[in-house]
Symmetry: C2
Subunit: 292 residues, 2 copies
């Protein structure tokens, strides 16, 4: 069998793209109709990781006190230069100064904000009911949410990219250190931690954060090896002329509803075995973008 390795590569881009676009039914196929929502500068944080930009959207609706403390800490430059000190591949990257787990911190603790009473005013884009981990799931302004209609409760669910406060056994023991989910959604943590935001841009940079040894529970003992957040800034604190604009897909639009429908009913020729008509809320991409 003769094989042609390097030469003639990618000669058929059209074919490649056609074939691949089917495998990955991303929002792109309906991009013309989909709309984007501008993020609120008051609730958007830029995090720099090795000169790469990560954009975090905060969610004061679901975690008002956590967002308030996080914003204050960002504005005091608390996090600048601190490491991601506990990083387990496929699970979480946790960063901060470790003080909220020790005894020396003077930063106040945050009360639990695990779930909220459902606000009838909010628009809810349904995704799956029942879901394996909750009676129903859907999007609220781009955030993956689970709901229990019989209890009238709702909570942010642990999808990849979610940002939440670490704590110890006490429910009200969150303080400063936070984690970003970097692997398959650990949804067993839902309703047990203060999720307060999500990464809307730059997850590729987050995925390059140095991992710790599994046998040491992900803890990187040698601080010189760990990835540091060089700085975090609230976008509203950046002078307007130097600001980048940030957008995320509008999950309230009819076009997004159509996209969910398409994903639930895969009609492309590619699918020789039709998938079950269900959607994993954490597997629906809700991308962000930044522009000058």
């Amino acid at each position: 069998m003769s094989i042609q390795p390097a030469r003639g590569k990618f000669q058929s881009w059209r074919g490649v793209l056609l074939a691949l676009s089917v495998i990955h039914a991303v929002p792109l196929c309906a991009a013309g109709e989909l709309t984007w929502r501008a993020l609120d500068p008051e609730n958007t944080v830029f995090m720099e990781l090795r000169n790469e930009r990560v954009v975090i959207e905060l969610n004061p609706g679901f975690a008002p006190e956590t967002v308030k403390q996080f914003k204050r800490l960002v504005q005091e430059r608390f996090y600048d230069g601190l490491p991601f000190y506990r990083v387990i591949d496929g699970f979480v990257a946790q960063g901060g100064d470790g003080s909220d787990l020790g005894e020396l911190s003077e930063v106040p603790l945050i009360d639990a904000e695990f779930e909220i009473e459902w606000d009838q005013e909010w628009s809810f884009m349904p995704v799956q009911s029942p879901d394996m981990f909750a009676p129903e799931t859907g999007f609220v302004n781009g955030f993956a949410v689970a709901r229990n209609p019989s209890a009238n409760t709702a909570w942010l669910t642990h999808c990849p990219g979610v940002v939440a406060m670490a704590r110890n056994d006490d429910r009200d023991s969150s303080r400063t250190d936070f984690y970003i989910v970097i692997g398959q959604a650990p949804r067993y943590l839902d309703r047990n931690l203060n999720i307060f935001g999500r990464v809307v841009f730059g997850m590729d940079a987050v995925q390059r954060i140095q991992r710790g040894p599994t046998l040491n529970n992900g803890i990187i003992e040698d601080e010189t090896r760990s990835t540091r957040m060089s700085r975090l800034r609230l976008v509203s604190d950046i002078p307007e002329e130097g600001r980048l604009s940030t957008y995320v897909l509008d999950t309230n639009s009819d076009a997004f509803a159509d996209l969910l429908k398409d994903r639930r009913n895969r009609k492309q020729k590619f699918f020789h075995n039709k998938p079950p008509k269900v959607l994993d809320i954490c597997q629906v991409p809700v991308n962000g973008r930044i522009t000058k």
Copy 2:
């Protein structure tokens, strides 16, 4: 509020570890009892990515023809130096020469190996029934498997780390290029692609593969920017004295069954809201390790 940033960090390692080990109930807590299985050198491939080692375990039981062709290509050094040319964060990293999607390749096509008839001889470690995407899930020798008992079929399921052959619309059009799942399990692809292995070690290196632009369907047009697989070697082709030994958790053991039970019934004080007693097969870590 006065904050102590750099000084006094990590003064309480014991506390940190105690607290964190609860959040992440990894196999470690029962590590003494868990047993490890040595990988078969005939079905283990080392892939080098920027001097980092990635270990792939092949699965000839579920995809005999795909494994046969992949091994032959590895032995012919077909992949050495080829790029991951289509990489979408949160989805897949696809590499190869692109020829199986064009028209110039002389490598034979592979017939579909989407699912198999269940072999009663195999030991099956049950995880979840029903699962959202399949009547039941479980492990077969470390691999995440879904089954449909009424049809007596079984298939490898698209968890993070899974390695599968790309194809175009034709079911029998796999050839050379493969992808690794790097994000939330795209289980809608199950029973539609030839999954033939999984990464058992080095997913952190895989996560550092250069991403392509989402708006270009992940395609990296500028080949100089893409991450290349410098070489792939079948372990049995490496002289024994230079070989590393590779192991994965034995998912057939009683200790592993206990671990699943613990994950299903979270009894730690950490959980103020008990999670539903369900398990996502793709969220159960089945780690590998390598030793000299």
